[in-house]
Symmetry: none
Subunit: 265 residues, 2 copies
C-alpha cells in the first residue's frame, strides 16, 4: 500500500498516539507485575498473563513507532513517504501472541470447572491462530478480491471466539451476584466494544476502496488501532484485576491468607 | 552462501517471524521468572533453566533480526542483498548454550534417582557439544562434500541424545499415572516433532543442491527455524512447567509449603 503525504498535524497525531500506547503498555506491565501480590493464589495466573500481554504489546508498539518514524521524512513543512515500508505486520505478530493470552486470561478468571477449562482454552487458541493467519494472508495480499476472501475466512473463527467468550461470561455472571455479576457483564461490553473495531478496520479498504484510505484514513486506522489496543489490553487487564479483587472480597479472601511468604514479595 | 533477491512479502515474512521470536522469547523469560514462585522447591531448578534458555535465545534472535535487516536493502520495490553477510552462526552459538540447558531441564523435571542423574546429564551435555561443533564446522565449510561428512558425524551424538531422552521419558511415564503420564508422553512427541526439524533443514542443501535454496528456500528455512525454536524453547518450557504443576497437584504439594524464604522473593 502506497503511503500518502501527511500534514505535520496528521503525522504527529499518529506519532504521539503510538508513543502513548508504548507508555500505557509499559506502565501496565509494571502495574500487573506488582499487583500479583494483591490477589490470592487462584487469580495469580490471570495477572501473570495480563503482564505478558502488555509487555509483548509494549515491545511491538516500540517497533511500530520506529517503523513509522522511518517511513516518513519532513520536507517543506509536510511529511513525505521515504519509500521505507510502514510495517503493519507487527500488529499481526503481536496479536498472534497476545490474543491467545487474553483468551486464556479470561478463561482463568472465570474459574471454570477443571473438566471444561482445558478444552475451551485449546479450542479458543486454535481458533485465534486460524483467525490471525487468515487475516495476515489477506492483509499482505495487496489485492482487494483476495483480501475480501481471506477476511471472510478469518471472520468465522472470530465469530466463534466471541460467541464462546460471550456465552461463558454470561454463564459466569449468572452464577454470581452483586458487584462481581456487574463487572462480568461490563467485561462482555468491553470485549464487544474493543474487538469489534478490528474487523471493521480490516474491511474499510474492501468496502470503500483502497483509495478511501487517503491521509485521513491512514491516521484514523493507526489512532483507532492504538486506542483499541490500549482498551483491549490495559483496560481488559484492569477489568480482570478488578473482578479478581471483587470476588476475593465477596469470598472473604485476602491475598496474604493463602501463601504468606509468596505474597510478601 | 549468496543471498537471493527477495520480494517485499518474502523479506517481511522473515522479518516479522524473527520479531515474533524475539517477543515470544522475552515474554517467556518474564513468564518463567514469575512462575518460579508457583512451583515447589524441587521443580525450581527446571524453571530457572527454562528462563535462561529463552533469555539467551531472545538475545540471539535480536542479533539475527539486526543481521537480517543489514543484509538487505529496498531497491525499486524488491529487497536486494547489500553484500553484508547474514550471520546464521548466531544460531549455533545459541544452541551451544541452550541445548545443554534444555537437556538438563528435562532431566531435572524427570526427577531421576540421584545416582544416575549426574551421569546422564554429563553424557548428554558432552554429546550436545559434539553434535553442535560438528554441525557448525559443516555449516560454514561452504563445500557440499565436507558439509555432508560433518553432518553425518553430527548425527551420531544427535541420535544418541534423542535415544536417551526418549527412553528416560518413557521410563518416567511408566512410573506415573493419569495427567502426568499423558504429559510426559506429549513431551516425547514435542521433542521428536521440534528437534527433527533441525537435521532436515541442515540436509536440504546436501540433498537438493545448494541452488535449491533460492528465495523460497531461504524464507522457508528462516521461518521454519523460528517456529521450531519457539516450539522447542517456549513450548517445551511451558510443557515442563505444566508437568511440574500436575505432579505437585498429584502429590498434594503447594508452592509455598516447601521453602518459605525462597518463595519470599
Amino acid at each position: 500500500m502506497e503511503l500518502p503525504t501527511l500534514t505535520l498535524g496528521q503525522y504527529s497525531l499518529v506519532y504521539n498516539m503510538l508513543s502513548l500506547a508504548i507508555a500505557a503498555m509499559v506502565a501496565s506491565f509494571a502495574f500487573f507485575t506488582m499487583a500479583r501480590s494483591q490477589v490470592s493464589a487462584r487469580f495469580r495466573p490471570a495477572l501473570v498473563m495480563s503482564s505478558l500481554v502488555v509487555g509483548i504489546a509494549g515491545y511491538h508498539y516500540f517497533r511500530i513507532f520506529e517503523s513509522w518514524g522511518h517511513a516518513y521524512a519532513l520536507q517543506n513543512g509536510a511529511y513525505v513517504p521515504t519509500g521505507m515500508p510502514f510495517n503493519d505486520g507487527y500488529r499481526y505478530v503481536d496479536w498472534l501472541l497476545t490474543v491467545p493470552l487474553l483468551v486464556a486470561e479470561l478463561v482463568a478468571v472465570l474459574q471454570l470447572p477443571k473438566a471444561v477449562r482445558g478444552s475451551i482454552t485449546a479450542r479458543l487458541i486454535i481458533a485465534t491462530v486460524l483467525m490471525l493467519v487468515a487475516g495476515y494472508v489477506g492483509e499482505v495480499s495487496g489485492d482487494m478480491g483476495t483480501r475480501n476472501i481471506w477476511g471472510i475466512i478469518s471472520s468465522v473463527p472470530f465469530a466463534y471466539i466471541l460467541y464462546v467468550l460471550f456465552v461463558e461470561l454470561k454463564r459466569a455472571a449468572e452464577r454470581e451476584t452483586g458487584d462481581v455479576k456487574y463487572k462480568l457483564l461490563m467485561t462482555q461490553l468491553l470485549l464487544i466494544g474493543t474487538w469489534g473495531f478490528y474487523p471493521i478496520t480490516y474491511g474499510i479498504p474492501v468496502w470503500f476502496g483502497a483509495d478511501f484510505l487517503g491521509a485521513t484514513g491512514i491516521v484514523a486506522v493507526q489512532v483507532g488501532y492504538s486506542i483499541a489496543d490500549i482498551a483491549a489490553k490495559c483496560g481488559y487487564g484492569l477489568m480482570i484485576y478488578s473482578i479478581a479483587r471483587t470476588k476475593m472480597e465477596a469470598d472473604g479472601e485476602v491475598a496474604a491468607n493463602t501463601a504468606a511468604p509468596v505474597a510478601a514479595e
